[in-house]
Symmetry: C2
């Protein structure tokens, strides 16, 4: 039994293909990505990819699910007992001041796939769900903080939506411009909404 693939309906080879696609997508971007590029990041041959997936589109749709799973696993990892601290950590993960390479790659792949939502309804539906789920997670954390009495005077739903939006704009700016003040601006705004200091 492979720990990485348990319960996802993906075997080891499928996972290896998706990881190769992930790396190739970081390197080339969606527009320049070919099955050959995927194969170069994969220990087996190009044909093996077609044995496990019907088409290039099929691989990329599976990658979408794979990446979204990873994103939410990272987002909800290690929760403590202090509601305000948990909220702070959540916002910090949603709008990180800086990214280690691993997280930068995840954001890059997410954004590359998101950009396909402009022309492909399946992608659009998926990212609608992603953004809704982010809002729901933030909202639940805000509600817990309110119930504990430490955070007051905020509307959980509106606050969650605004934080999600700040995360989205920070991500877009970080990945598509050279300026990093956008991330700081978004972080400041997000923490201001909660009347919670950043550290």
């Amino acid at each position: 039994m492979d720990g990485m693939t348990r319960g996802t309906g993906r075997g080891e080879t499928e996972t290896a293909i998706l990881e190769a696609t992930y790396r190739a997508l970081c390197e080339y971007g969606y527009a320049q990505l070919s099955v050959q590029h995927i194969a170069e990041n994969f220990e087996k041959s190009k044909s093996a990819i077609y044995y496990h997936y019907d088409s290039k589109d099929d691989v990329l749709l599976s990658l979408l699910d794979f990446v979204v799973e990873t994103f939410f696993e990272d987002l909800e990892a290690e929760t403590g007992t202090d509601p305000v601290e948990n909220l702070r950590l959540l916002v910090d993960r949603l709008v990180p001041a800086s990214l280690v390479e691993e997280d930068l790659d995840l954001h890059t792949v997410m954004f590359e796939l998101r950009s396909e939502a402009l022309t492909k309804p399946v992608y659009r539906t998926k990212f609608t769900e992603v953004d809704r789920t982010v809002c729901q997670i933030v909202e639940s954390y805000v509600r817990t903080a309110i119930d504990s009495g430490v955070v007051t005077g905020v509307d959980p739903e509106q606050t969650a939506r605004r934080i999600q939006q700040h995360a989205l704009s920070a991500q877009t700016a970080r990945l598509t411009t050279e300026d990093d003040w956008a991330v700081e601006t978004a972080r400041d705004a997000a923490f201001e909404l909660l009347d919670v200091p950043q550290d």
Copy 2:
């Protein structure tokens, strides 16, 4: 002399090619775009495109300039005399509640090109400049409103940056999800920053 091309260094045919590329980009998206698709939206042949441009990349880089010019022309159009009203109109153009098809296409093309900034430094540099310029424009409008005494208690630079970020997140959400509350959230937040009612 053609009014549309004056001072841009583009002839009629170059402009027609860029307009065709614009339409093809809306229809197919950057990843699926081919020179053939451009030619299908163009009255002349594929070879004519190569006579006027060195390569597909060359066409798309020219489109980038073309689209950015159009964006800023639209943004700074028709200024009135009331500083607060001008500011309201500016924010309304940056974060429109809804888009007519023409503006939706412009935003779509801008976003398709922006997504290339992840892998292409030239695009990244351009969008860095775009976002900076948007901030500068908003900042100048805010300063004018402050000088007139109607808007008070805001830092022009920070406010401008936040408004630009709200515009970016609204655009991303509008183009990549099915939910439209994101746009309302961004608009509300932007107008709140100025303590100016939306209408």
